[in-house]
Symmetry: C2
Subunit: 141 residues, 2 copies
Amino acid sequence: MQQQLSVLTLGIADLARSRRFYCDGFGWTPVFQNEDIVFYQMNGFVLGTWLTSALEADMQRPLAARSGAFSLAHNVAKAEEVRAVLDRLSQFGGRILRAADAPPQGGMRGYIADPDDHAWEIAWNPAWPISAEGYVRFAPA
Amino acid sequence: MQQQLSVLTLGIADLARSRRFYCDGFGWTPVFQNEDIVFYQMNGFVLGTWLTSALEADMQRPLAARSGAFSLAHNVAKAEEVRAVLDRLSQFGGRILRAADAPPQGGMRGYIADPDDHAWEIAWNPAWPISAEGYVRFAPA
C-alpha cells in the first residue's frame, strides 16, 4: 500500500476558538469550511478540524472527547523561531506544555497544546530538509 | 508560517506489535528504527511511532497513554479496496471500529483501530486526487 496519509482529523469543541489558533496563530488559510468542519490543505495531505461529536459519530467510537497519546510537530527554519512561534501561539489560545529548550541530540524544541489540548511540538531540526512546498524528509542527524 | 506538518508521532506501548500493523499490515518500510521509536517517511512528512513513556517525558505531559479525539485517514484508489484493506489490517492487530459502508456524501469508508487504539479511516474519496508520490489534495465533491 502507498506509504501515505490522506487526512489528519482533530476533534474540536468550538470552531471559532480552534480557527483562532490555526488561522490567526499559525496564520494558515482554510481551503474549505462549513458549520462543523474546517479543512486546511497541508504539505501533501489535508488537515481537518471537526466537531468531536461529529467525529465520534463518524468513527462510531464514543468517549473520544479528549486528546491522547500523540503529538504533531511543526518544524521551523531557525532556532530562534521556536520560542517566537510558541509565544505567538500562546497569544491565540495555545497553552505551553514545555518551554523551548535544546534536546540532547541537538536542535531546539518546545510543546504547546492547542485549545482542544492537542499537543504541537515546535521544533528546529537542522538535519531534516523542508522543501519550498513544505515537504519534510527524514535524514540521519 | 508555512502551512506544514513535519512529524506526526503516535504513542505506542509495544514496538513489535505496532511494527506488525504498520510494516506487515500496511506494508510500509521504516526509514529509521531503534529500541524505542520507528520512523516512516510519508507523503511530505514523517510518521513516528514512539513508546508512550518517552513521548510523555518529551512533551512533559503525563497521562497521555490513551488514544483520543483524532483520526487518521488512508485513502485508496478504488471502492472495493476499502473492505480489503480493513480485512488485511484486522489480520495484523487492527480492530475494526466501523465496517466499510458508503457515507451520504458518496465514496466508501470504514474505521479500524491500530494496536494502540489510534483510529484509522480507510476511505475511497473519488473527488480528492492523490499523486504518484502520494500527495493528497482537497477538492470539492
